[in-house]
């Protein structure tokens, strides 16, 4: 029932609008389920937290307006906040080292080495594990008496007395970071392998014809082309500052003192441990803003656009 094509733009405009609106309807239908879930379980709760962070709220008492009291309390009086902020930044700051390590392993594995697939699987095997179980295993390996790490150190003679890794104020955080890197290293390696194999070979051939040394090839070709993968690794590193909540909950529960307290464990303890839901909500808002800023910085550094996996 196509109208006569001769009618002028008004009708073509209607048809054009109809096609664009049809496409818009299609897009919204396709996005609807995912958007519904993110809205219900991410956006609404964030709004709830925002609302709570400006009130004195407790489950059975009517809420009272609090203005910026919670933020003031956090910034001026709560030094556990500053300690957990420092720990969170150290935690995120450790991911570049893990990414570099993963890059090294990826370069080794990415070659035509026999059995590369076996190494790849072994390194990745630790990622699908349940973090609670990983926490138990590592807590047991760090044990002062029966742990293997202390045993190995004493056998090598590096250490005379066993180091109480998870009970000492300066060893606890590095120990937890090593356990987290052990688990996430495989995932970084896989993401970097993704990037490595998307670099067209002819660039390398051209460079080697010009006689560029292997190292120069790495700096001028491999690394720049890996930017989107490195950005995704950085985002995963940032996310880990709260997805490894289970690891810290099982290994040290923030101890000793607040040496391994991250923002997420401080939020959990303030909310459920000390029944300060309004204060925990304020902490959540601050953490969200911090992570958003870090992601923006990583995005700028990686030069990629928001769709991180998109090809150039």
């Amino acid at each position: 029932m196509m109208q006569a094509a001769g009618q002028v733009s008004g009708e073509r405009g209607a048809w054009w609008r109809k096609k664009r609106t049809r496409e818009l309807v299609l897009v919204t239908c396709l996005l609807l389920p995912s958007l519904a879930i993110f809205f219900l379980y991410r956006v609404l709760p964030l709004g709830w937290n925002l609302l709570l962070s400006v009130q004195y709220w407790s489950p059975l008492k009517p809420p009272r307006w609090a203005g910026l009291d919670h933020y003031e309390e956090m910034l001026l009086y709560d030094d556990v906040f500053w300690q957990s902020l420092k720990n969170t930044l150290i935690f995120i700051g450790a991911s570049p080292f893990a990414i570099a390590l993963a890059l090294g392993i990826a370069l080794l594995v990415n070659s035509d080495l026999k059995g590369a697939a076996v190494y790849r699987s072994i390194v990745f095997l630790s990622y699908p594990l349940m973090t609670v179980a990983v926490g138990i295993i590592w807590r047991w390996m760090y044990d002062e008496r029966g742990g293997i790490i202390n045993f190995a150190l004493r056998e090598i003679g590096l250490v005379a007395k066993p180091i109480p890794f998870l009970q000492s104020f300066d060893w606890a955080l590095p120990s937890v970071i090593v356990a987290e890197i052990w688990q996430v290293l495989g995932f970084y390696m896989i993401i970097i392998l993704t990037g490595l194999q998307s670099i067209p070979q002819h660039l390398y051939e051209a460079a080697s014809i010009d006689g560029a040394p292997r190292l120069a090839q790495f700096w001028r070709i491999t690394l720049p082309m890996l930017r989107p993968s490195l950005f995704l690794c950085a985002v995963v590193g940032i996310l880990n500052s709260f997805t490894s909540f289970d690891l810290i909950y099982v290994m040290t529960n923030g101890g000793p003192g607040h040496a391994t307290e991250l923002l997420i464990t401080h939020i959990y303890k303030s909310g459920f441990g000390q029944t300060k839901f309004d204060y925990a909500a304020a902490l959540t808002v601050v953490q969200f803003i911090l992570l958003l800023a870090l992601t923006y910085l990583a995005n700028r550094a990686a030069g990629g656009n928001a769709g991180s996996l998109e090809r150039q």
């Binding site: 879930i37 059975l60 556990v80 459920f272």
Partner: protein, 415 residues
């Protein structure tokens, strides 16, 4: 409830709109009972529920058991959603916090009305759960700290009977410290270490619980001596860094002179320590008879739809149930009649456990570390990290206690 979920599964699934039609079924009178990590007594508790329900037609009791650290998360989420369990079992001062929030029912009128129920319990332990003069919980099972000591190590160091003063503790510990062995070890969660300060006349707060009173020369001196003893290895460092498995494990390993802990620690130490026998494990009160209680209480949620049924269940558990619990788990329930009978049997069957449980019922007027605070965990979070810094030598005692005083005062003011 179920019909709505089945409808959802068959319906549009993820795009579920909020369903308007509530299913008003004539639900039988139902109460739920949340316990604190007592899953090993499942047959006993199922038995209680069966007996309780048998002669109360149309009544259902749903039993939930959660691990200690998970109870606050579960209970408070249910509280916010308005469906808290009717009867809840909490440990230590957590019950008072929920009472201060208005989550627990005030039981004083019911206790006043039924004097026989009130007189059933040891008054000192019952008053542990009195917040602003009102009773909120009944004792489920009760514990307080005491002093375990390693008799062979005592004899080797030429000591015979347990220390009677703070100085005696430090001296005895010094004599037993050498190489891997250390003299003294204490648990540190929920104020269990507080008798060490109480025996020196130092109290955390003023009697009206409004001002911190620990930052005194005496308080600083005691903290300094503890820090120096920890430095010298006389007091095992795990006292201030461990929680449950580490300190008890160290004492069970057999090279620690004294363990200051509450009665449940005995069963852990016995399970792990091959050396533990009635002849080798000494049991005594801490000097001055001071002790911090860490008891389990039973309370009723204000949002409960059947408070009377819940109160009926509470009376049942703390009477018939207490008898069985005391025997099965070898502990003291706070029910005077049940405890005296159980202790009489235990004296013959298990003298060591008898001597331990007897200490739980003596000097109950000298209980410390149990301030009736509505924000106990916040005050603890303000005080303990600072004290820990001092005891581990990361801060000198004076500045640590000054910082702690500032923070505790701030928490008390916030209310």
């Amino acid at each position: 409830m179920i019909s709505r979920r089945a409808l959802l599964k068959s319906g549009a699934g993820a795009a579920a709109a909020t369903l308007a039609a509530p299913a008003i079924a004539q639900a039988p009178k139902k109460i739920s009972f949340l316990t604190w990590n007592i899953i090993d007594q499942e047959p006993m508790i199922r038995g209680w529920i069966a007996r309780f329900v048998k002669d109360r037609p149309g009544v259902e009791v749903e039993w939930l058991d959660k691990k200690g650290p998970e109870i606050p998360v579960f209970y408070q989420t249910q509280l916010v959603a308005g469906t808290p369990p009717d009867v809840i079992n909490t440990q230590g001062a957590l019950g008072l916090e929920y009472a201060a929030q208005g989550a627990l029912l005030d039981l004083t009128p019911r206790l006043k009305a039924e004097a026989s129920v009130r007189n059933r319990f040891n008054a000192d332990y019952l008053s542990n759960w009195a917040y602003e003069g009102k009773n909120y919980m009944l004792p489920f099972y009760i514990t307080k700290t005491l002093l375990f000591y390693n008799k062979p190590m005592f004899q080797k160091a030429g000591l015979s009977d347990p220390p009677q003063s703070f100085d005696a503790i430090i001296d005895a510990a010094q004599k037993m410290t050498s190489g891997e062995a250390s003299g003294f070890l204490t648990l540190n969660f929920d104020w269990l270490y507080w008798p060490l300060y109480a025996m020196n006349g130092v109290d955390l707060l003023s009697t009206d619980l409004t001002k911190p009173t620990f930052n005194t020369p005496k308080g600083i001196e005691v903290t300094d001596r503890l820090a120096k003893a920890t430095e010298a290895g006389t007091i095992n460092k795990i006292s201030w860094t461990g929680r449950w498995v580490e300190p008890n494990g160290a004492f069970a390993a057999g090279n620690v002179g004294m363990l200051h802990a509450h009665s449940p620690a005995y069963f852990f130490v016995k399970g792990q320590g091959k050396w533990v026998t009635p002849e080798t494990l000494g049991v005594a009160h801490a000097p001055g008879g001071f002790a911090t209680p860490n008891s389990h209480g039973l309370g009723i949620s204000t949002a409960s739809k059947n408070p009377d049924l819940a109160w009926d269940f509470l009376k049942f558990v703390t009477d018939e149930g207490a008898q069985e619990l005391g025997v099965n788990r070898k502990l003291v329930t706070g029910n005077i009649a049940v405890d005296t009978k159980n202790l009489a049997d235990l004296e013959k069957s298990d003298p060591l456990v008898y001597s331990i449980l007897r200490t739980q019922l003596e000097h109950t007027d000298r209980m410390v570390g149990n301030w009736r605070l509505g924000n106990d965990s916040r005050v603890k979070e303000a005080f303990w990290p600072e004290l820990q810094n001092a005891l581990l030598g990361r801060k000198d005692a004076k500045t640590a206690l000054a910082d702690a005083e500032r923070k505790v005062a701030r928490e008390l003011k916030r209310g």
